[in-house]
């Protein structure tokens, strides 16, 4: 039985299953919740299956259509992809459960197909090793995300969606331009083949510039974050959760892959720029978050700040490769869990009081304890307090920074943590006080509260799971190519 399970090509299932689910949901809107949850369950199991396979056999290759590299499209899974897929499935399951309670009938009819398309896109993106195919998945991802944002229906949501759509399309086109240049330089679209051939030529520089800019735009790195807060803050909460937790990470993942696979011989000098932008993102995003008066805007800006951390790894990877990358992936996944939880919590607040004005949270610590607990636990991870995934990530990142004497970055990391604490506890503080004018309240379904709390607990639990996850990440040694010259592991 076990052997049989290992023969199933889980990676393919991961792509096709949500697509089938999406179609099914589209066809039979009456049963979307059941269909969706079954799909998510299947996806989750498939990730587990893929993980088992990877642990057994190492890297996963799949030549789609039986056509090998330059001609056909390759599916590829290593530890990095696996972890991203895993976190996607995890967040996906939680958001799905949350969504079943959050949306009413007609909303969930519209939500499910789009969300499953999004899931398809994410899984396909994490598994693809072909840069044009990646472009298609990016588009699929972008369009489904935009459509999800637009579900909100209000003025803000539509504006946010539009902004997001335009930015996303621009980003995709920039990426595609890079693909064109790369293809015509090396005659291949396969990441592995490109990585063998790539060298420093003007065409590659331009491709690097365009693709990085496109992906930075999609990742919303400062100062390209303009689309993120309006889109993430105005969408329905489960959707915000998905966008902030997963979608942004997908483009970051792609950028990381490109760097690790293709651009590492030439990108050393750009790493500094990424570092600077990362630093500015942390500071600027945090300060902006601190200024916000609404919870969801605050959380959205917190995403802007947290993205900054991810980019600190680029300058650090020169000297402390694996540590820095591990740190960043850890930060990314814990951010995914925590941010999703936080948006769900924000959704609960919205549902409860009908608003998310921070100053009027009106004793929610008592009235919605689970939600506030979720918010707080997620916040703990952002701040980087132990024990949490954020702590482990930040620890590794700090370690990488200090190993190379990058004091500036180390200081910013600590400072970012403190700023994060300030904005997180701004919300929590008001959750303990009474509002000046009480508002009417609605009950929040238990499922919504628990989904948020469990996810946030997951972010905390990640603090203890490093010995499990770091070896997973090492499958296929995705970071070896760019782990720097000297490996200083104490």
């Amino acid at each position: 039985m076990g052997d049989f399970l290992l023969t199933i090509p889980w990676a393919v299932v991961l792509i096709l299953l949500p697509l089938v689910g999406a179609i099914a949901c589209f066809l039979w809107p009456k049963k979307v919740n059941q269909l969706g949850l079954i799909t998510l369950g299947g996806v989750f199991l498939s990730v587990v299956g893929l993980g088992a396979w990877l642990l057994e056999n190492g890297v996963y290759h799949h030549a789609v259509g039986g056509w090998n590299a330059p001609l056909g499209i390759q599916l590829y899974a290593d530890g990095l992809s696996l972890v991203m897929l895993g976190i996607t499935a995890l967040v996906g399951v939680a958001v799905s459960v949350y969504a079943t309670a959050y949306f009413d009938r007609s909303q969930s009819e519209r939500f499910w197909p789009l969300w499953l398309f999004l899931l398809t896109a994410l899984n396909a993106l994490f598994l693809s090793a072909d840069i044009f195919n990646l472009y298609v998945t990016l588009e699929l991802l972008g369009l489904s995300a935009v459509a999800l944002v637009a579900l909100g229906g209000g003025k803000a949501a539509l504006n946010g969606a539009m902004r997001y759509l335009l930015a996303s399309l621009l980003g995709s086109l920039l990426f595609l331009f890079g693909v064109a240049l790369l293809y015509h330089t090396y005659g291949s679209l396969d990441l592995a083949m490109l990585s063998e051939q790539v060298e420093s030529t003007p065409t590659v520089w331009m491709a690097l510039g365009l693709m990085s800019a496109g992906l930075l735009l999609k990742t919303a790195l400062f100062p390209l974050h303009f689309w993120l807060p309006p889109a993430h803050a105005s969408a329905f909460s489960p959707i915000s959760a998905l966008l902030s937790a997963l979608v942004v990470k997908a483009s970051f993942y792609l950028l990381l892959r490109l760097w690790l696979e293709i651009f590492w011989p030439i990108s050393g000098s750009v790493a500094g720029l990424f570092g600077v932008l990362g630093v500015m993102a942390i500071l600027w995003g945090s300060l902006q978050a601190l200024r916000q008066t609404r919870v969801k805007m605050l959380v959205a800006y917190s995403t802007v700040a947290q993205i900054g951390y991810l980019f600190l790894a680029f300058p650090l990877a020169m000297g402390a490769g694996v540590t820095a990358w591990n740190a960043v992936i850890y930060l990314a996944i814990s951010h995914a869990l925590a941010k999703a939880a936080m948006f769900m919590a924000a959704g609960n607040l919205l549902r409860f009081g009908g608003h998310d004005r921070i100053a009027d949270l009106d004793q929610l610590a008592q009235r919605l304890p689970l939600t506030i607990a979720a918010f707080a636990l997620a916040g703990v991870s952002f701040i980087g307090l132990p024990p949490s995934g954020g702590f482990i990530g930040k620890w590794l990142l700090l370690e990488a920074a200090l190993m190379q004497g990058r004091w500036d970055l180390a200081v910013v990391m600590v400072l970012g943590g403190i700023l994060a604490a300030m904005y997180i506890f701004k919300v929590l503080g008001y959750a303990f006080t009474e509002a000046s004018k009480p508002s009417k309240v609605k009950t929040v379904p238990v499922r919504m509260e628990w989904a948020a709390l469990l996810l946030a607990s997951g972010a905390i639990l990640l603090g203890f799971l490093a010995p499990l996850i770091l070896p997973l990440l090492a499958i296929g040694t995705p970071f070896d190519a760019f782990s720097g010259n000297e490996e200083i592991m104490p």
Binding site: V64, G65, L114, L143, L181
Partner: protein
């Protein structure tokens, strides 16, 4: 040879300049309607360029989709925008917004914006010029494996066999766009009481023709320029015409049957994918012997779906929800 080459240069140069000029005009002429028309013209000129670039498949797709359908979509959107303004009793609205657009232009800043763009253009141009002047890309590999692909048109082979996975996702994108639009819950536009008789006549005449063309394109796609997308878009154009003529899908068909049609393309792909996997092969690995059949089936369903989706995209609102919303 020289003269021919010079002529070619002249033609290509003219097309290039024309493209740039049309794009410029389409983007910066003050009237929106004119801009859209210019954009359609631009699409047609692009078709020409594709032809010059020896890519008839692309040219077909461009004329049907890039210029045709996009143009139709743009025009109908423009009309709806205007209709909205008119409904709201703001006839001068468009003009106002145009003027506002003019006003918000700040030449100085915009000039400043243009500088890095120019630099980028220079950089890109430099990058392109640095490429090796001769490269065959993957054509050799494609040619080598063409026999096993089941079709003789290399583009179709790439689309539906070598990179069929891309196509699968692409049809998914199309479907997704439609679902996305439907989920916006846009109100159907008011049905015209009496369709324009000329249009009606035209429709009646053109629809069978388009059907035929579509079928031909589909069939020919296996070995000559053409294929599912082109066929689908032509068929879709027929649908657009019907819609313009005021025809609506009967409600009995607007529900599940329509949806099944819409998803047929993707579904067939998935079914094929699953079948190939069950057969122990790679995903979407067609056995060479049955490849042409499989591709044909795929193309038929894809054509149907693409046509339905494109027509539905044009309609914009959900046909089966028109009463509810």
């Amino acid at each position: 040879m020289e003269a021919l080459s010079l002529l070619q240069w002249l033609i290509d140069g003219l097309i290039g300049i024309g493209l740039l000029w049309l794009a410029w005009r389409a983007l910066f002429c003050p009237e929106l309607f004119k801009a859209i028309v210019l954009f359609i013209a631009f699409g047609l000129l692009m078709t020409l360029a594709w032809v010059r670039l020896k890519a008839p498949d692309v040219a077909l797709a461009e004329v049907a989709i890039g210029a045709g359908l996009t143009g139709a979509l743009l025009l109908s959107s423009w009309a709806k925008l205007r209709g909205f303004d008119a409904n709201k009793g703001m006839g001068a609205r468009e003009k106002n917004s145009e003027q506002a657009e003019q006003k918000t232009k700040r030449p100085f800043f915009h000039g400043l914006y243009a500088i890095p763009l120019l630099l980028m253009a220079v950089g890109l141009g430099y990058g392109v010029l640095q490429l090796t002047p001769y490269a065959t890309g993957l054509s050799a590999v494609v040619a080598e494996n063409l026999d096993a692909s089941g079709v003789s048109n290399p583009v179709t082979a790439v689309l539906l066999n070598f990179r069929a996975y891309d196509t699968l996702l692409e049809i998914a994108v199309l479907l997704l766009a439609l679902i996305g639009i439907w989920s916006l819950g846009i109100r159907p536009s008011v049905r015209e009481a009496t369709p324009d008789p000329v249009l009606d006549l035209l429709t009646r005449f053109l629809t069978p023709l388009l059907l035929l063309v579509s079928a031909y394109l589909l069939w020919v796609g296996a070995h000559a320029p053409g294929g599912a997308f082109q066929a689908g878009s032509v068929l879709g154009a027929a649908g657009v015409l019907l819609i313009l003529a005021g025809w609506r899908l009967p409600l009995s068909l607007a529900g599940l049957p329509l949806r099944i049609t819409l998803v047929a393309g993707v579904s067939t792909f998935i079914v094929v994918a699953v079948l190939t996997m069950l057969g122990g092969a790679q995903l979407l690995a067609f056995p060479p012997s049955q490849a042409s059949l499989i591709i044909f089936v795929l193309e038929i369903t894809a054509t149907l779906s693409i046509a339905a989706i494109l027509a539905a995209l044009f309609l914009g609102s959900r046909p089966d929800h028109s009463e509810k919303i």
